[in-house]
């Protein structure tokens, strides 16, 4: 009797459970259909649309900060070196003789670049997050004054000219250059630069300043993108030349060669339009140096060798005699030494064609590269003592500064700035992210295409699905946590698979990243906030942006017609991540695409991640709805006038 009742009860529970499950599924499917307006989705997980919270994402949590050196400046007497520690909000003064930190100065806003005046009295520090330049009394290590510049100031250069002291500041987020008078700080001009200006140098003798922009500017689809070396008058800020570094990016450094009138800019030569059938022979990218001669002639020469690569050249300094240039390769933990007399000799005898093809000739570097100095992890900035006897290498992910005897290339010691975070998976992951050792012949790192985890603005042709497919736009890794699946077709369910064997097969052409390091890498990636997150979060919306926000969330057109739910912006780009993480068709299938269903990208930091769409065909946000909109499939926008479109774009830039 008891057992029969038990069986009946069990059956009732089972059937009830099944019924509830079935009813739940039916309700769920109809709920999805009702709120998405789509019938092709069926049942999807609740968390595609619900239970997303920015606060719960890894990148929203406070991460440990390290004494990662960014900019450096050496005092005129060579006794002190000043190092900006952007993560720590500090500038420290280290004693060169004892190789130890002497004094620390707190500067809020991520101090990044450092320049020192001719007398050694004043330091000038760029604050990357507060968009300021700070003047600091170098003798007393105290802040003197500050001035607002463009957004994201990084590189800074100082020169004393006949008309007075000048500072040239590269504003990496607002893509412009602040030309400042030094005492007191005042902005003289703010001309436009290329995309993400990053480094600045002044040739006081020649009356010219140089600013290198590290990203290439997307032009028309399938055309070669170039980065810019901006030449300007440091007195007036007037633009003298905008030299295009053909097919180059990550040009994060610039230096002036005294006597020769050259400027040197390290770069990555990208070959993104060529199908990635291989990586050997620099097929995807290689490292080089752009030499700009006094007459403006540009020649790109390789820093890589036929079978040896030195990834992510990020900084360059030239000794006072102009004999040698030192280039830090952040991905390879090497400083490359170039003999400029040899380079000049080669340039002198090279014909036009040889110069034009030089960067593609991997056997050429041996003509002028005289040494490769090993460093600790991630050398990113360089400085020389006033006489050029000592080379200082900022080993960013080792939290140290290597001191090298410049003549013999022998290490003299290391200034330890803080712990290097061996016990922190995020820090370890950053080391994986920035290292080229996982790719064939150590050709490139994750950072080579994702500077600071963001985009390089390029589209690549992977051959995984055969030759001849469309290019794929490089997507930002900033703010990527919680936006799975990965890839434009949503093929990879998570970052671990995205960055694991599939990545090794398609791009690295080596064994996959070992499991422990892969885990660190994905932990690091998930800790990366979206581009411009802090700046956008702390800035109220302007009236135009507010109008744009209303358009984004509009359910009716200006004329009062209802917008189908499936084509309301916020249905697919659902806050807070501005994605529902589902595939959608927005009418963008290209001639070689196998599908018209593409992953709905999140929109956080979208204003800085051009170009757009899966193949990067739209170079601006406007083009999404002016050129590449088809039958209102990518949101209903045909009712908008130009005011409204501009407002919508302004709002999107705030995400």
């Amino acid at each position: 009797m008891k057992s029969r009742a038990f069986i009946v009860a069990s059956l009732v529970v089972l059937l009830g459970g099944c019924g509830l499950f079935l009813a739940g599924r039916i309700w769920g499917a109809s709920h999805v259909r009702r709120w998405s307006g789509r019938t092709d989705l069926g049942f999807v997980n609740c968390n595609h649309c619900h239970w997303q919270s920015i606060e719960k994402l890894p990148w929203a949590a406070e991460r440990r900060r390290y004494a990662s050196p960014s900019g450096m400046a050496v005092s005129p007497d060579g006794k002190s070196i000043y190092v900006a520690l952007d993560e720590m909000d500090e500038v420290v003064e280290a004693d060169v003789a004892t190789q130890s930190v002497k004094r620390r100065l707190k500067i809020e806003g991520a101090p990044f670049g450092v320049a020192i005046d001719a007398a050694g009295d004043r330091l000038y520090v760029t604050c990357r997050e507060s968009d300021m330049v700070m003047a600091v009394d170098a003798r007393e290590m105290r802040a003197l004054e500050r001035i607002a510049v463009g957004a994201g100031p990084v590189g800074i250069a100082y020169a004393s000219t006949q008309a007075g002291e000048r500072l040239v500041v590269a504003n990496s987020v607002s893509d412009n250059i602040s030309v400042l008078g030094a005492k007191p700080l005042r902005e003289i001009a703010r001309p436009k630069a290329g995309r993400e200006p990053y480094a600045a140098a002044i040739d006081p003798a020649g009356g010219r300043a140089f600013v290198s922009s590290r990203l290439a500017v997307p032009e028309t689809y399938l055309s070669v993108a170039n980065s810019e070396l901006t030449v300007l008058d440091p007195l007036s800020g007037r633009i003298l030349a905008r030299d295009l570094l053909a097919s180059a990016h990550l040009s994060e450094g610039v230096a002036v060669a005294p006597a020769r009138g050259w400027s040197l800019t390290p770069l990555i030569k990208v070959r993104n339009l060529v199908p990635i059938t291989q990586v050997a022979n620099g097929w995807v990218m290689s490292s080089g140096l752009a030499v700009r001669e006094e007459n403006g002639r540009l020649t790109q020469v390789p820093l890589d060798e036929s079978h040896g690569y030195f990834a992510d050249p990020s900084a360059v300094v030239i000794d006072p005699s102009g004999a040698r240039a030192y280039i830090a390769s952040g991905g390879s933990d090497v400083v490359t030494v170039v003999d400029l007399a040899r380079l000049e000799g080669w340039l002198g005898k090279a014909c036009d064609q040889s110069r034009a093809e030089a960067i593609d000739d991997l056997s050429l570097a041996a003509e002028f590269v005289v040494a490769r100095i090993p460093t600790a992890r991630n050398p990113r900035q360089l400085a020389l003592s006033p006489c050029g006897q000592k080379l200082f290498v900022a080993e960013r992910l080792a939290s140290s500064v290597l001191v090298v005897e410049a003549q013999s290339f022998k290490p003299l010691g290391r200034i330890v700035l803080g712990p290097d975070g061996k016990d922190d998976p995020i820090r370890r992951g950053e080391k994986v992210f920035t290292s080229a050792k996982y790719t064939f012949q150590r050709q490139f790192s994750c950072r080579s295409c994702h500077p600071d985890g963001h985009v390089d603005g390029l589209s690549y042709d992977f051959d995984g699905d055969g030759l001849g497919d469309n290019l794929l736009d490089n997507r930002s890794l900033q703010g990527v946590a919680g936006t799975e699946p990965m890839k434009w077709v949503g093929k990879n369910p998570n970052l671990e698979i995205q960055c694991g064997p599939r990545f090794a097969r398609v791009l690295m052409r080596t064994d996959p990243i070992p499991a422990a390091e892969l885990s660190d890498l994905t932990t690091f990636l998930k800790s990366q906030p979206p581009a411009n997150w802090k700046r956008n979060r702390n800035t109220p919306l302007t009236p135009a942006q507010e109008r744009g926000r209303k358009i984004f969330f509009a359910t009716k057109t200006s004329q009062g017609h209802a917008i189908p739910r499936a084509r309301q912006c916020h249905t697919c780009h659902r806050p807070p991540l501005f994605t529902n993480r589902l595939l959608s068709s927005v009418g963008t299938k290209g001639p070689h695409d196998e599908t018209d269903m593409f992953d709905t990208p999140h929109l956080l930091g979208i204003g800085l991640s051009a170009p757009y769409l899966h193949d990067g065909r739209a170079k601006t946000l406007e083009e999404l709805w002016t050129i590449y909109q088809t039958n209102d499939l990518h949101g209903v926008t045909s009712y908008m006038n130009k005011h409204q479109l501009n407002d919508l774009v302004e709002y999107l830039k705030t995400l």
């Binding site: 060529v274 022979n281 056997s363 052409r509 080596t510």
Partner: protein, 471 residues
Amino acid sequence: MIARHQQERGLGGGFPILAIVLVLIATGFFFGCKPVIPEGSLVLTQVPKSAPEGGAGLDRLYPTGSRVILVLDNGKTRVLSKGLAAAGAPAISPNGARVFFSGRDGSGEWQIYEADLAGRAPRLVTAIKGGAANPATIDENKIVFSSPAPGRSERSEPSAIYLQQVGASPQRLTFGNSSALEPTVLGDGRILFVSAWARSAQDDCQFGLFTINSDGTELTPFALDGDGPRFVRKPREIGFGRIAFHSAYSEDARAWRTEQIHVARPFKSRAPLQPNMEGCDSVEAGQRGAVLACCEGRVVEFQPGSFEVRERFDDPDWREIEAVALVPRAMPMGHLSTMVSGKKTGTILCLDANLTKSTNKALSTKLKAEKVRILAGSREEPRRLGEVNLHPDGSFMAEVPADTPIGFEAVDAEGRVVRRLAPSIWVRPGENRACVGCHEPYNRSPRNARPMAVTKPAKRLEGTVESIAQK
């Protein structure tokens, strides 16, 4: 209670037994399973001084009586090729624990053996028809070698490079019409080997160095293109960015010179390894950056660029011709294959068939090709798979049979062949192979431009050629 009882019993009664077992395991691990070989010991190939000259191929290099021995740091030696008629070409696994070598038993066939470092008889690793020679290690368990072993039989087919996981079947990696010989594994994971250039009949006796990935993809010329003595053997990566090798103008030459190239510019850096360095039979990477060489029948060591040569070993009764240090080295980089199993074709993309390394631009322009004829099969009697028109930018793309020697004829508007490559390259199944040009300059990266050929599907040229793998 029961668990506690068992626990107490286990601790009380089983502990001594467990301890003994652990000690035995530890002892076995340290002393039984793996013999302790001091780091820096040498593995040598010795040839009897009285050995008769003659023969061909391996028989000539390693005449009867040749043996592979282990020389411990205390000077004691162990014969590793016990029971074999001849042996040579030792290779050490990256962890420095395993030794493979070529050996010939009484049957007269050369195969690959693994040495027992404790001095017992070696273990047969390969049993491939035609024999196997010149092993090199990719990782602890994978070797590459060439087969058939040169010199033993009527050479009906050229030697190829094979890869074999120890205990598994060999997989063929090369499919050219010229022999692929003497493989060695570079730090970046590629297999470097010696083969003849095959652009024309004159190249028959012009040897160069080539590389492939560990799955046979991406065949690439590496160095040596008519810039010195034409015969080449035993290339070895010796550190400091250098590859050493031996060369001679005649295959029968008594004294081979030892040369080097810099990997930074391999086609432009050929030079003697040391001044007046002749009479050496082998060069290998030694310890702490030193070079280990066998010269004039003894083992010596020197630092690159230094004239100071230190003798490491010399047995007056034997002539030492090969020496490798039994030391761990960095594991070569791995390679995740891009091959597609089950596919029988691969794709060739040429970015510009009119890009050549000719410095005579006028001549290059004059010899402008309009289409490319794709050949397959033997070098002497190749079959035409078909023709592909060049796009205005000189690019073309074709799908061709995999694992088959493929050649090209660039044809101008009048139908004249302006450039030719006899069938000598291959693609692996599913491989997408691209080249910058046609006889293009070496070590050249592609120009960043979208090749027009990729805007349309590759022309399928299957032909009727039976692939070598199918044979």
